[in-house]
Point group: C3
Chain length 300, copies 3
């Protein structure tokens, strides 16, 4: 009997501490960090539970850029453990009839977001298990019903925090949505006629590297080994912006300062860089749906 | 007897874990995030207690801009639970005889700050319960007495962390200050002659929306309903900068891309925006004491 | 006996909570915060242990600027408690044969970093106790072996998190390295012929103050007291960029707005500022190895 009491006390203490079980709540948005918006969202989350582990991917998504939100989410999410709750708010349609959802991925991650295309990449990489529409009658910050333009604070941060802390279950988010999530269309990587082609989804903004979406599998069909040269053409629409050859290497340090190179980036997609310089700036290359890249193994 | 021991052990374990009780320490400053200043402050706080939950509102308050510090603090603070300790450091008078204080608001929040006007908005919205002057003889980082220019690290972060962690009580901050806190003067919103008038305290910097301080109550005296048109005049001093009419709507999506609109922002103040664009940029509108706005319901 | 069991249960509960013992993991890098790189690193760290206290110094080190990484690390690290694990990633040589290390300082701090000069300042101020080379066979994120360009995520964040959480001991990082760490050379402060001379390691970027490396001890040899005037010459290489006199004061508020001043900064190094203005911008002063400053007590 004493042992039972002891064990019960121990388990109770543990469950209150609950330190081994806590889930992360991870924000990203296009709000920037110059004002109080992100601080208000985190206050809402902390008020839900003082035990939440709260983090950020970035709040510097270019305003209204849903495509980049989708890309950045996918760049970071796979590195977080299952159970992590992401709250992504790039929401040009706030207050319109766009759907507010929480998705559970096949990998066990959760994403709270307007269903406006933000889930495009995640749907392909982690896969969508279930989609629930947020029932705002139950999942909305108290006394916020007069505010129509800050769902990030009033609905998404609040719901994400309640889900991450266990205050609500995934089922309590709201009813199942049986259709697909909204997907942005984009050029998939392809291999044909001995060439690998794809798009430029984003730049590696800090260093000026050009990240294509030509993945390792597609790239490998070129049959290029480390040290081989790759012939590269970059187009903006129909216009040829860059044509040149770069060595395919593993690291920037494999070429001299100021020299171009091709490599597989941290997401294992083919990318173009300049050692200690900026490829994007040197050749005026940008990213987006109208940009494309064609690669061919150089056999000279 | 055994039960008493058990309960005592359990409570002790709880009090050490103390997870359910922990308070947040929330920083804002004009330090920027490009150097080691904020990192040094957080180190001081973490050294006080490894259990603190440490957050930020923003560190990108424009340098020396006390007005914006006051506004941003007020934008975020009400969303944090009572007991939260804010440390706000925009301190152009560091080292002068400006008072260093901790205020307790009527809502139970604490703010550690130089008393230089940073409390202007909080004093009106949350209300000031008590003001205590920081006794630096007791509340100053050890071995920091030769540094005169970084009170943020040596006094404010240190005192805020000790208060949030319970190492000191509010009474141990220092003696009560019986006068008012320093208030910056600004144009209050008014309704007269059928018009609502007010100032432009800040821009919604990330999106270029113009946030007035015409609150919901003052605005409602215009008798405008959703869908009505509002005649807007914006002045820089005496000079008319913008005159036009905008629909009063709930959400940006209620108008076409590129169209102007009026709405109640996330603080329920009347604001002006352009769907998917920047009102401030389009009409060269900025914020500050010399800017004013006059609204009239358009009856055409 | 019962008491022993009780105490054991209590200690076990405590050890699981382990709240009083947790160590901070503190990141800095040149990655910027506009993409998902920092978010991916933190995900790796959180997956190692959900109990880690994770912080940042800055991620806005100018790209590839090892010197500034070294300076910023030294600006913040001494304010964190012993046991703190810093992960610093400014790594232009990623993938080359530069050594990946964890150093233990004499003060009991740990730094995980490429050994490329990032430890220059820390080695002088906190001192190096031991250097261990990271054994990547054991200390590398699973399934990351095909990625060659993001050691920050795959090796440094992972190893730092495991060290901070106690998953590995310092000894388990890898073998001892018996040589020195890589040091960048720079002009040390000197006093000769009645003049104090030194370099300009960094600017105080947010406010435009010019921070020299003339420390309090060297400066004091001028025999200047508060209120005395200091004759200042600033050189870019051989070229005289600024010559003038400033009062030596403790605080910015000691001079009128717009006036120059000399003071000891938060690291107790002699610095130059303009009250409510920017010294660096006014006189086109920058920082780096080619900049130097000479001070003489003005005796007029």
């Amino acid at each position: 009997m004493r042992k039972i009491i002891l064990i019960a006390a121990f388990l109770l203490a543990l469950s209150v501490c609950a330190v081994g079980q806590r889930h992360a709540l991870v924000f990203q948005s296009d709000f920037g960090l110059r004002d109080g918006a992100v601080g208000a969202m985190k206050g809402v989350a902390f008020a839900v539970s003082a035990e939440l582990a709260i983090f950020d991917i970035t709040h510097d998504i270019p305003p209204y850029n849903i495509w980049e939100a989708s890309y950045r989410l996918n760049q970071a999410a796979p590195y977080w453990p299952p159970g992590t709750v992401f709250v992504s708010i790039v929401d040009p349609g706030v207050g319109s009839d766009r759907r507010s959802v929480v998705v559970k991925t096949r990998s066990g991650h959760f994403v709270v977001t307007p269903d406006n295309g933000t889930l495009t990449h995640i749907a392909e990489t982690l896969g969508i298990d279930q989609v629930r529409e947020i029932d705002e009658a139950r999942n909305r910050l108290q006394n916020s019903s007069q505010s129509y333009t800050f769902h990030g604070r009033d609905v998404y941060a609040y719901t994400g925090a309640r889900l991450a802390s266990g205050a609500i279950s995934f089922e309590q988010v709201g009813p199942l949505h049986h259709g697909d999530v909204v997907q942005l269309s984009y050029q998939k990587p392809v291999f044909r006629n001995g060439e690998a082609a794809g798009g430029i989804p984003v730049l590696d903004v800090q260093y000026g590297n050009v990240w294509t979406n030509i993945d390792k599998t597609t790239f490998s069909k070129l049959g290029a080994s480390t040290g081989d040269w790759i012939n590269v053409r970059i187009f903006n629409g129909k216009q040829l912006v860059y044509e040149g050859r770069v060595p395919y290497v593993q690291t920037f340090a494999a070429v001299d300062d100021g020299k171009e190179l091709g490599y597989l980036n941290s997401l294992l997609n083919f990318s173009l860089g300049v050692n200690m310089g900026s490829f994007a700036e040197r050749y005026k290359v940008s990213s987006g749906a109208e940009w494309s890249v064609v690669l061919r193994k150089d056999v000279r």
